[in-house]
Symmetry: C2
Subunit: 209 residues, 2 copies
DNA sequence: ATACACAACGAGTTATTTCCCCTTTTTATA
DNA sequence: TATAAAAAGGGGAAATAACTCGTTGTGTAT
């Protein structure tokens, strides 16, 4: 009995060739292909047999991997979700695991290891690769600074050409309050200047650039 | 007569499945596969027949697409180079074209368009996709700010927690000279504060973060 | 009830940044 | 080679950022 697989990936060339590869193997059969989450939603109710395993790309247009996985997990809890990405950043791994994926595979994986991983998911229900190291992910979560809503808003403005006075006016707060946010964020990010704060915010992806 | 193709891509899963796809078609034959430029260099002298077209991924570890393309262009000028990337940023396109690629394809291309592009390269010697719009690329090049060597070095330091005084000491220059760089970059980037400069530098990828 | 954390606000001081006015030296090029 | 443009350096003043003291009110955990 072949394992039924679904694939969602915006890179059509990859999608089609991976599908071809899986179909040409003895153990797998691709039952659904989509180029993004919305596309998958539109198709999945019309196919004759549901997949056992759904391969989900992390970065996709229209509807990204996280939303897609979360939706699949809710509406099709029996389908095993596997994240497939070229990005090994902790935040992506955490988001996909939280969204219900039972494995996170990198695209530079060898076809052999790939099949091993899929077999693991199929038999054990999960597959632990190096990127899923629980200890490291926990440590990452600890390291995430917690900012209040106003601090976040202020930080966004602080990463622009505006002066603090202008930011205070924009937020309808006094310069003192603004200065309090600044001091608080300085401590949390362990920096000593506004530029340092801005760059650290970029590094930690706390601001939209 | 089949068109001989080579592939360099660090995503093994993509590399192997694309290879499988091309080999299973009537018109193409994959004669060399590598996971990065250095790997390609190590292998290419040992294969019986050279490719007609070399597909080169843009972002790879060890030796990236640009260096790989430049090297191929110098040592194997008769092989047609095709950039293959998921990134459509102008700077990547420009770099790969300058390095000698005669086409720049995105990985979200459909297998059909992909074959059309390869046929174009094989018969016409090039393929123009939307990302290669000459007018837009020229406009991009015009918009690139030109910084002097010292300005670049200063900008890198200016995007840290250091004060200008510290930067001046580090660069063995007076604070006045540093201030001259600052004023010059402010004008070129059209900003009014140090944070604005830093964020604009990030946006234009003028600094390593 | 009472401590506790924290968001919000305030005055005053120091440090840094930004801008204005310059001169001298080096580099490019007509 | 003359001339212009760019790089490097300088003093001082105004604006902005950063720090050090506070006070008040609000929610919340004990």
């Amino acid at each position: 009995m072949k394992i039924k697989v679904g694939i969602v990936d915006d890179h059509q060339l990859f999608l089609r060739s991976l599908s071809l590869m899986l179909n040409s193997s003895r153990n797998y059969k691709v039952v659904i292909e989509a180029t993004n989450g919305q596309h998958l939603k539109d198709k999945i109710y019309a196919i004759p047999e549901l997949p056992d395993i759904m391969l989900i790309d992390v970065s996709m247009p229209v509807m990204d991997g996280q939303s897609t996985a979360a939706w699949m997990n809710r509406d099709f809890p029996s389908i095993k979700l596997v994240a497939l990405s070229m990005n090994d950043k902790d935040i992506f791994v955490i988001n996909m695991i939280k969204a219900g994926c039972c494995a996170y595979l990198l695209k530079d994986i060898s076809p052999k290891d790939f099949e091993t991983a899929l077999d693991d998911v199929s038999t054990k229900g999960f597959h632990n690769s190096d990127v899923c190291n629980a200890r490291r992910l926990m440590k990452y979560e600890e390291g995430v600074v917690k900012l209040t809503e106003n601090e976040k808003k202020f930080l966004q403005y602080a990463c622009t050409d505006m002066t603090y006075k202008e930011i205070a006016n924009l937020m309808f707060l006094s310069e003192r309050t603004i200065d309090g946010y600044r001091a608080s964020i300085f401590q949390k990010l362990n920096v000593e200047t506004r530029v340092g704060m801005a760059m650290e915010a970029v590094r930690r992806e706390l601001v939209r650039i």
